[in-house]
């Protein structure tokens, strides 16, 4: 197996605050790889670094062997990376399905000329993008909301919508930052099914999540962060029995 995402000695400091410090790990293609840790441990910062929203202050990030430290998020998207956010990022000025079609942006290459004069190529592209978006919304379980304004949707539905948008790009790796936050037990169970399906279909999943039952049940590998540093790394059973983790996190 080759490492899809590889992180070496990664650092991110905000002024004096070391949000991420000397973090190394690697994610193999096809894995469900989770990052856990207490509030403020640096999980979201780590995701922001990997997806290009932040530039590292030290260390290296690789995607498929290529160093990506200085790439923009859109360039990482072109290389097959997509994500959702802890603070949901939905375009409230669009309908639900338009949000998902937005996720398909990179597959739609109509020129400005074709667009301005609405030539047949554009109509074909849009039609297939709309179909694909509708299928994905069905897949994540918000098929009832196709033409609903995003601003009129419930929190849980928006969470699923954001996943559908990330999937619309046909990503190689998808990063989910606390997808279960704010969901009830039924919704969380459905989410677990969904993540399993995504992984089974060959997409690598990176997950930040506080719901231990969900994380332990679904992950192939776990990274535990504490104060920006790696506390432990391993399979769920290794993590569960790691004395440092028990002392610092699970037991606390």
């Amino acid at each position: 197996m080759t490492a899809l995402v590889e992180v070496k000695g990664l650092d991110k400091a905000f002024g004096g605050v070391h949000a991420v410090e000397n973090v190394s790990f690697s994610v193999d293609a096809g894995q469900v790889y989770s990052v856990i840790g207490p509030n403020g441990a640096g999980k979201t910062t780590l995701f922001n670094l990997i997806t290009g929203l932040y530039t590292p202050t030290g260390g290296e990030i690789r995607l498929n062997g290529e160093t990506t430290n200085d790439l923009e998020p859109n360039q990482l998207a072109e290389r097959g990376m997509c994500r959702t956010f802890q603070q949901m990022q939905i375009c409230m000025n669009m309908t639900a399905i338009e949000n998902v079609m937005l996720g398909r942006h990179l597959k739609l290459k109509s020129s400005l000329f074709t667009t301005l004069f609405r030539l047949p190529g554009l109509l074909r592209d849009e039609k297939s993008a709309r179909q694909r978006a509708a299928d994905l919304m069905e897949y994540v379980g918000c098929g009832d909301y196709l033409e609903t304004e995003a601003s009129a949707m419930s929190y849980g539905a928006l969470k699923r919508l954001e996943i559908a948008r990330a999937l619309a790009a046909d990503p190689k790796v998808i990063l989910l930052d606390e997808p279960a936050a704010g969901l009830n037990a039924v919704e969380t169970a459905a989410l677990e099914q969904l993540i399993r399906r995504i992984a089974d279909e060959g997409t690598t999943v990176m997950l930040v999540e506080h719901d231990m039952k969900l994380v332990m049940g679904i992950s192939d590998h776990l990274l535990v962060l504490n104060y920006g540093r790696v506390l432990a790394e391993g399979t769920p059973s290794e993590i569960r029995n790691n004395p440092d983790v028990i002392a610092a996190y699970l037991g606390g």
């Binding site: 997806t51 290009g52 929203l53 923009e72 998020p73 859109n74 990482l76 998207a77 072109e78 997509c82 994500r83 956010f85 990022q89 939905i90 375009c91 409230m92 000025n93 669009m94 338009e98 079609m101 937005l102 996720g103 398909r104 942006h105 990179l106 739609l108 109509s110 400005l112 667009t115 301005l116 004069f117 609405r118 554009l122 109509l123 592209d125 849009e126 039609k127 993008a129 709309r130 948008r165 990330a166 619309a168 790009a169």
Partner: protein, 335 residues
């Protein structure tokens, strides 16, 4: 499903076309035609500005600068150098688009107030250049502009024309020509909005972070829409110059920039037809309130503020949803 979209869109354009055709029934003199034609031309400029402000969520407080550049490019090239009108208008649009790209690239990195200030400065600089280059532009006194020459056929407000035995005054023809141009402007704008590129632009407004992670090159898209809106301004500026026959640096000035942005905000940011209504209201209002001329800018400022506080969606969308509710009440629910 797609046909549905096209239908809705076609309906809007047909309504606009009907309004344009019906309005002359109420116009009784050349002065009124002149105002109506101004609304149509400036309406085209605000449809373009709305792409930037309403859809992509970026501000420009110097947009009259691009309108003025188009107007003066046309004035100088067709007037002083005798170039043909249509190629000049298109070349002017290309030149203004290039200028917008060059200045847009660095300033569109800025956000909020900083972007406002930067675009304000761009407008000021253009107005100052036009004022000072009096050799070319006639300076503060302005310059005359030849009538619009459409490939050998001259369209002048003062001309007399006859088609199929029907007599038309030049100002009537100008009105219909400007209406046709506005319809074209609306059609192109809507094609842009309802497309992958348009979604990318709206996403820059809705959530710039989301846009970036799905692969939208937001810096490029902001520049693109800035250029497109500048091209709209340039072309409508050129038309305006031909139509008026005389231009002064006021067409590029700060006051006009503020008027343009007020039209967008009042009419409804992100509503293509709304901003045309905004253009109409704010062109007509000073006529109605002619006694308060010195307070004109105060009034525009006040309108801008009041709209943002009490009607943030703008005139047309607000009227639309009020009508929708009425209708819903009458029919018992389903709007």
């Amino acid at each position: 499903m797609f046909d549905q979209f096209m239908k809705v869109r076609l309906r809007g354009m047909i309504v606009l076309a009907i309004i344009v055709v019906v309005i002359p029934l109420f116009l009784t003199n050349p002065f009124q035609y002149d105002l109506a034609t101004q609304i149509l031309i400036v309406g085209g400029a605000v449809v373009g500005l709305n792409l930037l402000v309403g859809f992509a969520g970026q501000i420009s407080l110097g947009h009259a600068g691009f309108f003025g550049l188009g107007a003066y490019f046309t004035g100088i090239m067709t007037g002083t150098y005798g170039w043909p009108a249509v190629p000049t208008l298109l070349l002017g649009a290309a030149v203004v688009g290039a200028i917008a790209w060059i200045v847009g690239r660095p300033i569109l990195r800025l956000k909020g107030h900083y972007l406002s200030m930067a675009t304000l400065a761009v407008g000021f600089i253009i107005a100052i250049i036009i004022n000072n280059e009096s050799q070319l532009t006639g300076g503060p006194d302005g310059m005359p502009v030849p009538a619009l020459d459409l490939f050998g056929w001259e369209l002048s407000s003062f001309g007399l024309y006859s088609f199929f035995g029907i007599e038309f005054d030049g100002y009537e023809l100008w009105y219909f020509f400007a209406g046709l141009m506005l319809l074209l402007a609306v059609w192109l704008a809507q094609n842009l909005i309802d497309s992958p590129i348009g979604r990318g632009l709206r996403a820059v407004h809705g959530s710039e972070v989301a846009a970036r992670v799905v692969g939208v090159d937001t810096a490029k898209y902001k520049s693109l829409v800035f250029v497109i809106s500048a091209v709209y301004a340039s072309i409508t500026g050129s038309l305006y110059a031909h139509f008026q026959g005389f231009i002064t640096p006021a067409v590029a000035g700060f006051d006009f920039s503020i008027i343009l942005i007020t039209m967008v905000v009042l009419g409804g940011m992100g509503s293509t037809y709304g901003v045309i209504l905004g253009a109409a209201v704010l062109t007509l209002l000073p006529q109605v309130l002619a006694d308060f001329q010195e307070l004109e800018m105060v009034m525009f400022g006040l309108i801008l503020m009041l709209t943002m506080i009490f009607m943030p969606k703008g005139l047309l969308p607000t009227l639309g949803s009020m009508a929708g509710k009425r209708f819903a009440k009458k029919t018992g629910g389903q709007p």
